[in-house]
Symmetry: C2
Subunit: 229 residues, 2 copies
Amino acid sequence: MPELKVQHILTLAELFAKGARYNFIPITTSSLGKSICKSQQAASKHLLELESAGCIERLRSGQKVSVRITTKGHTEMSKIFSVLKSSLATSPSFIEFKGTIISGMGEGAYYMSLKGYAKQFKAKLGYAPFPGTLNVKLKDKEFIEAKRALDAYPAIMINGFSDDKRTYGWVKCYPARANNLVDTALILLERTHHDDSIIELISKDNIKKATRLSTGSQISIHVPVKPIS
Amino acid sequence: MPELKVQHILTLAELFAKGARYNFIPITTSSLGKSICKSQQAASKHLLELESAGCIERLRSGQKVSVRITTKGHTEMSKIFSVLKSSLATSPSFIEFKGTIISGMGEGAYYMSLKGYAKQFKAKLGYAPFPGTLNVKLKDKEFIEAKRALDAYPAIMINGFSDDKRTYGWVKCYPARANNLVDTALILLERTHHDDSIIELISKDNIKKATRLSTGSQISIHVPVKPIS
DNA sequence: ATTACTATCTCACGAGTAC
DNA sequence: TGTACTCGTGAGATAGTAA
């Protein structure tokens, strides 16, 4: 944590902006006050405090006062800057879901086996999924929100299609890893009868077997995403 | 000026660092308090204020609370960031001197005409200077400091030499522009009898004539320098 | 015009505590 | 455990003013 007082940050930034890093810059406390949206008195105090903190130097020639930022002032500012920089640079490399396995498997199997989907899965995911989806009831609102967030990320699109009877909606696939053990894909469906708190997973093999999990078990799903710039 | 309160900057930065930009992150006010070196109460208030400012959203699931930074929060943070960024990026492209022309011209002429200097001037500056230097009395301490600052920048070096009688010191030349009118060079001498408050200028032609200035006139000298990274 | 002192006010913070 | 209230203290701000 930088030792620069937070309320001095913008004042020091203003001095930098005025070019006071490398030369003594003539400045009045009232103009500085206006720049930082504070009173003349506040600006005066800031300068006094920055000076005694060793962040700036002042030169007086009679009435006029000039200010220059010291190396320490520069260092302190850089510290703050890099804290903010690294903060803003943070972007997720994955989105995590936690929940409980619920029944499922029945209806999903029907869809997975439809040729219109199966062919695309094979082509785009590299495998024909085990016939059936694993349904997971999300534990918390937080994960329901995460599901919405995930929706904004690019996915592998499985297109919808029609047969004689009806039309089938698209499916968005997000390759993921369940319990850090099994490769799977989280799927978002164009049309679903599930509520928001349920997500579905598909996999090459039977996930329940592979993870030795059964209905009621806790499961965590780790979905890698490309950081948004 | 950003509307984010300054004391919230580090708190928001901490939330960013925890990854709260893209997902709801579970966080307790006491852990947040520790992170920002404040009390649990302060952290709680910061969150309340950031929330009502529209910078964050909170989700409660019973006991647990999760926080996510909104687009506005991101925007506000970015504003602060770019203020600091542009401030720190500021570096001088020139150093300015202001002063009064004083006599001079006499002694300087002698040195300028010495072959040991004249040859180097011709080779390194591209011209043989008008025989004589223009002496400028700096107006303020600020400019005396600027002179010291200038000394740290790379210059065109005119080497010292010896003849039968004595040795002559080096001369550092900084190409400059006087009154935004005449190309000149500010010179710093290894040995000088002048005090700190006087600088000397050389030029291809007679500066006084070119600028129509005479002893006692105000003059400003603009010395371009390469920004320090 | 300046800077910076004193007095006053506001509000940020921490302590204690209810829920 | 949590969050967030009230309240007291003091830092940080402004107003007025001296130099």
